[in-house]
Symmetry: C2
Subunit: 737 residues, 2 copies
């Protein structure tokens, strides 16, 4: 399998508003991100974001309450790295520009753009901008501006420096998906050489610090007032490089970071290697629709760009492509993005889970604050591990995040067999979340003989239904969490019994966990013969027909929560998400009934919905519907389906689009070590090929309309089940590719 | 029946902290209130409050949403009217003082206080302060300071003026019962004569204006630098009078209000007449416990002081005795205070209901905003009629306020027969609230034959249980609302059929109302054989035993709402309140079961709870328990039971204490025109006598342990039922008293 060069260009995207393009063509490497701001006119939203570099501010509530999240955590918009000041020698600045072309090479991460810049006096020049962010060397970024004559062909003065940001006005918005503006940090800047600027930033409240360096790499260059003369008719290339340091606490910052510059070409070469490895392990190729094939490559590219890789950062809901959701980490990582990493780059998956482990102390404190005596409750929205959701009914009440994280730990272990991680971190996370469920839930004695274990006043994934009892998804996931701790404890007892005692886990505790897991109530409707989303969802009235017109959506922007909550209307997959995760729980017929039912009451106002509906439609054999949902998923940002890509990419959906291909069209799942594949290729696609890793075995799956082929690329033997036929792929000694 | 003089003095009250005493000895007349601030040292919370004079400010939410209340409405703390500046001639100001005595005459409203004032140099003088607020002439207030030598007996310089308030710091509090500080209004002041100061105040955002006048009435007096010489050994009396204008919109204020001064003695005489009339119509006398007898007089006194009388104002939750709850009007008026006025001063009751009528347009708009196409939804917390509750789960979600107001209209009409009000205002209020329920609720089809009408995602009176389905109280009250509109419409059709058509009410509408009323679901537990507070309350776990220690209460200050909501724990009477209102709904046995059940799960963290539990205990014959709850009710503020009387009196509880005597110990209620009385006098009391008015008949009820006597004081014949014996009291031609 060879990987061809993929390029995203202006003609591949659905909108040309500047903020939209800035998101789409943003570059990132998990450590920091640079939006594709116009280099001439700039943008008040400067567009450089460092993962985990946030400012805090007290949350003001109209009416506060005990235990409410105390501080906003907001990713800081740093100085614009892409801006270049160009003037004619007689002082006419070039102030506007037109983006004529853009090309993002998905095999190198090099972004090449073509602009025409204009002065107020009508003088124009041609500007080509090539930029690249280091993937292996994740502190580096390089940009090359190539200036060429247009109607102006004279001398120019060029300056580039990192400016201290002006105080931006607070953006007041009733849209929770947007960001707040973080407070302006303290900035100190100096020129350590004519071609080098140092820029030190300290946030005031959160006490974080980071240093940036900018240098002009063109020989003899100077950042300020550099002369270029276009009268020779030649294009002139100017090279700049930036270094973005690591985030540290105040006063612990290394005083002077040596600037280890890397040129555009060096980074490009490095990146080619980096992306080559990425694509080798996670290549996906879709036959019959080049546009879609490109889209899925783009999604995987951005997913990889966005993921924190240092064990101290996670994936913000908008990646590093925009400051929507304030740069917060949500459950999106574990449930929508992590599967991709687990199956293709397990080391990155481990780093993401490691982030959760290092905020476990904050999660323990939060459980106490929430009136639960044992265990840990992870924050719904956070950067530093503390709860930052200022609306608890669709925030802290989504307790399921605990079970989501535990599920991800379990899935990671299932697929990778990485016992070291489980022993170091994973078991403790699963244990502490399990303990939370035990203390948080309650026995409900139905009659003298029957009791069940319930979870009350919770919000499930569906944020259009809040503070309900026995959300199916939550209960099912909690059950899994408890079963998982019992399973892992048994393994730990074999490996290292002392360690189990160190966690203060007794055999009686494990019996207790199992007993509760066995008794967790899973609501089921006898009337409809389906799992019920919660105790009351199915008996609520349906959303009124006269409010179905498209301009009523997303409902959250047009109706009070009380209005939305009293109807049987879902923002996204909820019980459906549980059905996707636990295929063994229900028959094909029941799944069909549930799908039909919940599809009718789901608005897909969340970007976390369509991918799941696509997967389950494929599982049900309705490949036409699966394809429709998948198309919205795969190209959600490229066509700006939700009309807010300007705020940043929908990362969960990017992960979801990969899931839809793999778990949907190819019916992939692993159960008891057996890899299951079923061919659900929709007729619109002529072929689907992808690679993933299970344990140490790299598999390649090739689907054609009437052909299903699974190949072991490297690693030990694998038991597979293809379209219901069991088979064993025998180990090979060398990769076939 | 003669009324003796009642006085409240320092020894009758439970605490001596200044802010507590300021509340307890506050004077008010429905238009404005003056807290009993120390006249020498003053208080940053100035303590003059005008009913309905508020400032607005945008509500900031951590995370906002569609339809959230937009503006805080906060009663404005005006200039301190009681402050007096006294210095020795050589410039030693008297800066501290000690309150030695206080006496509030409940028959005149004259407050007499004794202070010793001290300078920093140790000079002391005696200061007697008499103050009174006009009841019939409600713009007037008078104060007399009598200065006498103590260790200092020389010349003094005395100044009194209304100062422009300094900006107070915002009080950040997670306690929703406290107030915000309103923004400082624009103030202009000038001296129109040496003895007269004019003080004009305009709020900035809410655009309200009011003018105060202060004058020194002592002949030859001057507000500034008035000389008094104590060396003659005589006390010197200084008289001041204030005029507090009516609240008007900016630019509509009368340019100069003639100051019609009234002396302390004139106001005292007027008030004696006013209070005499009040006591004649609402005298209550409790035998066997003088302390309790005084307490109930105090409660009735303060209830009367607090009620708006102009049809444009209501009763703030803390009266005009403090700025707790920001001076907002809540359902407390209709359900806890209005019964007292309906039965004793129906004209005042009408004015209070009139206030609601004049904010009906805002209530209509709010219903639209809340996604309900017809009818009106009254604001949960408001001054100007717009929603000001910044926490919708215990604010807007308490839709029951609509039915509460309708209930009060119906009760007012039942008792007074005031058709004029119903025809002018009342019917429209009942109609618009009924229309709200019709559109807000939903049919739930149980099977082919059975359907019921439900109200989902609501909060009942119990604020420790939020966003539930089918709150019994809400559903029962909505049913009453719908039955009431049908009943009143039938009367209106007889009186004035055109008017019914003008309201666009068709016979089909009325049938629809009746049909829904007949089908409203009233949750009932077969297991416990009691009415169920809502669909899920009874199956939740009980509040944990290990969190029952007193310092866990009130729970709202120690637990996150999510923690409280998931337990079966109530802040206050909820289903019990419905049981109290609709005695005919359930048998004695069922009431007993319900009482036993709900008493165990009620914290009484709300001041609206104990009075209802007292009434129902009496109804059940448990007079000992009734007495215990009553004692906490009757003396709640005097003993500072809730530890926050400093923020203002608990007005609903004041009304509740009257209800507990009348509806509890004497079992009073009116059903189909028959007055029911049952003797439930607890053994701790030797007698209970009270007066009230039904229709045009003034009744006096006298209870002794083995005696029940009902007397018709004036008005037409009345059918009564005393301890189960029917009787008719024949009309008399002249009052017997």
């Amino acid at each position: 399998m060879t990987t061809r060069d993929y390029h995203l260009t202006l003609k591949d995207v659905g909108g040309h508003q500047p903020e939209y393009l800035e998101t789409i063509f943003s570059l990132a490497n998990g450590h920091f991100g640079v939006r594709a701001n116009d280099p001439i006119s700039g943008n008040p939203i400067s567009g450089t974001l460092i993962n985990g570099f946030y400012e805090t501010a007290p949350i003001t509530y109209g009416e506060g309450g005990f235990g409410y999240a105390k501080l906003h955590q907001t990713i800081v918009n740093l100085a614009d790295l892409r801006h270049l000041s160009i003037s004619t020698l007689n002082g006419h600045p070039f102030t506007t520009s037109k983006r004529l072309a853009a090309d993002l090479n998905l095999n190198t991460g090099v972004l090449t753009e073509q602009y025409q810049a204009s002065s107020q006096q009508g003088e124009t020049i041609q500007l080509t901008v090539e930029s690249v962010i280091g993937q292996n060397r994740d502190s580096f970024w390089a940009i090359r501006y190539t200036l060429a004559a247009d109607n102006y062909a004279g001398p120019l003065v060029v300056s580039k420096s990192i400016a201290v940001p002006a105080a931006a006005e607070e953006i007041a918005s009733a849209d929770p998906r947007k960001t707040r503006m973080a407070g302006i940090p303290d900035c100190k800047t100096d020129f350590t050489a004519p071609n080098t600027q140092r820029y030190q930033i300290q946030t005031k409240a959160s006490q974080l610090a980071v240093t940036l360096h900018l240098q002009m790499a063109t020989p003899g260059g100077s950042l300020l007032n550099y002369r270029v003369d276009l009268s020779d008719g030649q294009p002139h290339a100017l090279d700049y490089q930036a270094y973005v340091g690591v985030v540290s606490r105040h006063n612990t910052i290394d005083p002077i970071v040596p600037v280890l510059a890397a040129s555009l070409e060096e980074l490009e070469d490095d990146n080619r290697e980096f992306w080559g490895k990425i694509w080798r392990h996670s290549e996906v190729s879709v036959g019959g629709n080049p546009e879609l094939d490109l889209a899925i490559h783009y999604n995987i590219f951005q997913l990889n760009q966005s993921a924190g890789r240092d064990g101290r950062t996670d994936i913000p809901a908008k990646g590093l492509s925009g400051s929507g959701y304030e740069g917060h980490y949500l459950w999106d990582t574990e449930m929508y993005m992590l599967p991709y990493f687990i199956y293709t780059h397990p080391q990155m998956a481990r780093q993401l889970l490691q982030y959760r482990y290092q905020v476990l102390p904050q999660a323990r404190d939060r459980a106490r604050e929430m009136g639960v005596a044992h265990g840990a409750l992870f924050a719904w929205r956070t950067i530093n591990g503390e709860e930052a959701s200022a609306y608890y009914p669709a925030g802290t009440a989504q307790y399921h995040i605990d079970a989501d994280i535990a599920y991800a730990v379990g899935k990671y272990y299932d697929v990778t067999g990485d016992w070291d991680f489980i022993s170091q971190c994973g078991f403790e996370m699963v244990l502490e979340t399990a303990r939370f469920w035990v203390d948080f839930g309650a026995w409900h004695q139905l009659d003298a003989k029957t009791k069940r274990f319930e979870f009350l006043t919770v919000t499930g994934p569906d944020e259009y239904t809040a503070l309900v009892n026995n959300n199916y998804y939550t209960n099912r996931m909690a059950k899994h969490n408890l079963e998982l701790v019992v399973k892992l404890a048994a393994e730990l007892a074999k490996h290292d019994p002392n360690r189990l005692m160190a966690f203060n886990v007794t055999p009686a505790d494990l019996e207790h966990f199992q007993d509760i897991a066995d008794h967790i109530y899973l609501p089921y409707s006898q009337q409809y013969q389906i799992n019920a989303q919660d105790d009351s969802f199915l008996s609520k009235p349906r959303w009124p027909e006269d409010r179905m017109a498209p301009d009523n959506f997303p409902l959250l922007l047009h109706y009070h929560p009380l209005t939305i909550y009293r109807y049987q209307i879902a923002k996204q997959a909820d019980t459906m998400l549980a059905d996707y995760l636990f295929p063994q729980d229900l028959t094909h017929d029941q799944l069909e009934r549930e799908y039909d039912y919940y599809e009718q009451v789901t608005t897909h106002d969340s970007s976390l919905s369509r991918s799941i509906f696509s997967i389950l439609a494929a599982r049900l054999g309705d490949t036409e519907k699966a394809y429709r949902y998948f198309m919205d998923t795969a190209r959600m940002d490229l066509v700006d389906l939700q009309k807010n890509t300007a705020d940043g990419l929908h990362l969960a959906n990017l992960g979801g689009s990969w899931l839809a291909l793999v778990a949907g069209f190819s019916g992939f799942y692993v159960d008891h070590g057996v890899v299951h594949i079923s061919n659900h290729l929709p007729q619109e696609l002529t072929a689907l090929t992808y690679r993933l890793t299970v344990g140490k075995s790299v598999l390649q799956v090739d689907l054609k309309p009437d052909e299903t082929h699974v190949q072991l690329i490297s690693g030990p033997s694998v038991h597979i089940d293809v379209n219901g036929q069991a088979e064993t792929l025998m180990a090979v000694t060398a990769p076939t590719d």
